[in-house]
């Protein structure tokens, strides 16, 4: 595995299988009474969030804490410029404080890659602008594999504002890498013109796609896009591309409905649809913690010399001697 996770292009198909398998063994930790293992004890993980995102930050925070890492949350609403300190100076400060991993969320595409120029630790992209959100894609893959038993040849539609969606990019790249068949669905204004070069299909008609799906993945559509004239009205968007109660019946039996959250109930997805048993939106959230634990564990070199390996107990007494052995 690479030292950083900036994009799905940083991982191979084999890496993805390894990440999902590792997550599998970590998920059990979340069901224990004491939800903690000493895998990253003494390591420091910084959550550097330039964009508000409660759910992703909490997910990363929980993941790091369940691995016994020290977690620092560094959040700022505006951009670095508005804040007065540059990304570079913030990075150098965190570097000086000895951060082992920096989880970054930023409104500017490419910021995580830029950050790697100034820090020695691992950088994890928790969503950058309209570029990528690789950990979301991996937790989505985990959820699909767990529910449907495979990723190869899964038929997945990603529906909505693909143009501005970092989730859609990462998920498309990851699914194509794993041999799934991806169709991007949305109004032509919100589908990148060159998307077929990603190895995906494109459709402008949701209803013709639904009957052939294993997974219908709905994207959040921001109302701001109406003001920017990407579509005439939220009403019309919903009529053409919303997953309504009526359309759910067109999905094959056993297919999944997914959404990265937060949902706009009544816009891209009907409220009743979001609460159906086949909608696994909360499972995605739960799985997110395990997948992010796996990523932190693997990126921080949790492999060979780790004090603890997945599957071991929570008892620190067992783990510490192993660490001494490794040190000797």
């Amino acid at each position: 595995m690479n030292k950083h996770l900036l994009s799905i292009h940083d991982v191979t198909a084999d890496d993805i299988v390894r990440i999902l398998d590792t997550a599998e063994s970590f998920r059990e930790v979340g069901s224990r009474v004491i939800k903690k293992v000493p895998a990253l004890r003494g390591r420091t993980v910084v959550n550097l969030f330039y964009e508000n995102s409660t759910r992703t930050r909490i997910s990363f925070e929980l993941a790091a804490k369940r691995l016994s890492a020290d977690v620092i949350n560094f959040s700022t609403g505006g951009s670095s410029v508005a804040k007065g300190e540059s990304l570079k100076d913030t990075a150098l400060t965190l570097q000086a404080m000895g951060a082992d991993a920096i989880v970054i969320r930023h409104s500017s595409s490419g910021s995580p890659l830029t950050l790697t120029k100034w820090v020695r630790g691992s950088v994890l992209n928790a969503g950058d602008g309209t570029h990528e959100h690789p950990t979301q894609a991996l937790l989505d893959l985990y959820t699909m594999r767990e529910r449907l038993g495979r990723l190869e040849e899964l038929r997945v539609a990603i529906v909505g504002d693909v143009l501005h969606s970092r989730v859609a990019r990462s998920l498309s790249f990851a699914l194509v890498k794993m041999g799934a068949e991806v169709t991007l669905v949305g109004p032509p204004t919100l589908i990148p013109a060159d998307a077929p070069a990603w190895g995906v299909q494109v459709s402008y008609e949701l209803e013709s796609v639904l009957p052939k799906l294993d997974v219908c993945y709905m994207l959040r559509v921001q109302r701001e896009r109406q003001r920017q004239q990407y579509f005439p009205s939220v009403r019309e968007y919903s009529r053409l591309f919303g997953l309504s109660a009526g359309r759910v019946g067109m999905l094959p039996q056993g297919s999944l409905i997914m959404h990265p959250g937060p949902m706009n109930r009544g816009v891209e997805i009907d409220s009743d649809v979001a609460d159906l048993p086949q909608a696994v939106i909360e499972e995605q959230v739960t799985n997110g913690i395990a997948v992010r634990m796996a990523l932190l564990y693997l990126l921080l070199g949790g492999g060979a010399e780790a004090a603890w390996a997945p599957g071991e107990g929570t008892n620190e007494q067992e783990a510490v001697p192993a660490a001494r052995e490794g040190a000797a």
Binding site: S79, S80, S86, T114, H131
Partner: protein, 431 residues
């Protein structure tokens, strides 16, 4: 001035005189003189293997003074120019205050005279404050010596205003209206060429059509008005086709390309390196190849550096927050030699024509661009077309945002003669 410089055995490439031959050239008392008149104490430059050409003229520079002297001053910019083989530069009007009246024009030119490294021919703004709303006092600036007017940085979006500017400028001899061809609505928020890479990188695009739309409109307005139009830093293959047709039709139009647009493509943005963030953006290999061919065949008339210095902290930032632009004065000639002349895509004489002879006429630099004949002011460059070097910081420019950083270029300026004196000798600025 009483200095004699005898340049011996250089290959003299002088398109204005239709000359390309090995010869001796004497510089005496600021002008070119017959070589047999050299005084006994003349400085002798052994120039075997070097090319002697008329000093280069950059019709498109940003010197940042007044206003952003932390990025560049007229003096540091002129030093960078001299080191790049230029004897004249035309700084654009987007200073603070804007060069939209004679006061700033005089100030910038005087700063150039004080620096004494090359001639400075300031460009005047087409509209007051570059706001695109009201025509600047073009007549006053013409009296102050301005020949080129431009709102470089943005297009003049108001077609009626643009029509009137092109028409109004006809009152003055040899005055040219130069356009930055990008449709503001189509490029708003755009960070790079719109295409496969922009979609994958998640960066908002600036489609090539945003340029072609303005080129097509401007050519139509040139036809309507009979005005003299110059199209800055073209980047798209489609624009070339439009210009080629307009020239065949007989419209009074010239066009420019930058060294970075003939050297690089949008693939260079894959690492979010902000030194490759420029407006108009670097486009595809097909566009780059079309630009190269168009410069070689004369459809594109001139090379302009669009030297755009920016502070380190501005460029070492998030990609969408970094300002667009690359510096270019110190690398322009080498870039053209490396990417066009070296591979045989363009004759050396055509390179000199596009970087000296034609831009000198464009900006009204009568003492520049050759011919290298007795009695003519001695503004000359001597360069080694085969010397390889790696582009490294620091530069003579105050800034170091060069898209060419770390690349190997072939061709290096050795001496620059400005008004009969060595502004650059053995690759070092003399003041």
């Amino acid at each position: 001035m009483n200095e004699h410089i005898l340049i011996r055995g250089a290959r003299v490439v002088d398109p204005a005189a239709g000359r390309d031959e090995v010869a001796d050239v004497l510089v005496a008392d600021g002008v070119v003189a017959p070589p047999e008149g050299a005084s006994a104490g003349a400085t002798v430059l052994e120039a075997g293997g070097l090319v002697l050409a008329p000093g280069l003229v950059d019709p498109h520079t940003h010197l940042r003074e007044p206003g952003r002297e932390d990025k560049e001053t007229v003096e540091t910019g002129c030093r960078a120019a001299a080191l790049g083989g230029f004897t004249a530069v035309s700084p654009m009007a987007n200073t603070d205050p804007v060069a939209d009246h004679a006061g700033v024009i005089h100030e910038v030119r005087d700063l150039g005279i004080r620096a004494g490294l090359c001639d400075v021919f300031p460009v005047g703004a087409i509209t007051k404050g570059l706001q695109g709303e009201a025509m600047a006092e073009i007549g006053e600036m013409v009296e102050a010596g301005v020949r080129m007017f431009s709102d470089d940085g943005t297009a003049v979006a108001d077609t009626r205003l643009f029509r009137n500017a092109l028409t109004y400028a006809r009152a003055f001899d040899d005055v040219v209206i130069a356009e930055h061809c990008e449709d503001p609505a189509l490029t708003e928020g755009g960070q790079m060429h719109e295409g496969y890479h922009s979609y994958s990188l998640g960066l908002a695009g600036r489609p090539r059509e945003s340029e072609e739309i303005v080129v097509a409109r401007d050519l139509a307005v040139a036809r309507l008005t009979g005005g003299r139009l110059h199209l800055l830093h073209l980047s798209s293959a489609g624009s070339i086709d439009l210009v080629r047709r307009a020239k065949a039709e007989g419209l009074r139009v010239t066009a420019e390309v930058t060294p970075h647009h003939i050297a690089f493509t949008d693939e260079h943005l894959l690492t979010y390196d902000t030194n490759f963030k420029v407006n108009p953006p670097l486009r595809t290999p097909e566009d780059r190849d079309a630009l190269r061919a168009a410069l070689a065949d004369g459809t594109i008339d001139v090379v302009g550096t669009d030297h755009a210095p920016h502070a380190v902290e501005e460029k070492e930032a998030e990609f969408d927050l970094a300002p667009p632009g690359t510096i270019g004065l110190e690398t322009a000639l080498a870039a053209v030699l490396t990417h066009l002349v070296g591979p045989g895509l363009m004759a050396l004489a055509r390179a000199v024509e596009a970087m000296s002879t034609v831009p000198a006429r464009l900006v009204g630099a009568a003492d520049h661009g050759g011919p290298i004949e007795p009695g003519r002011p001695a503004n000359l460059v001597l360069f080694d077309p085969d010397a390889e070097w790696v582009v490294e910081s620091p530069f003579a420019s105050k800034s170091r945002n060069s898209a060419f950083l770390g690349t190997t270029l072939r061709g290096r300026v050795i001496h620059t003669v400005y008004r009969g004196e060595l502004a650059v000798a053995d690759g070092k600025a003399q003041r």
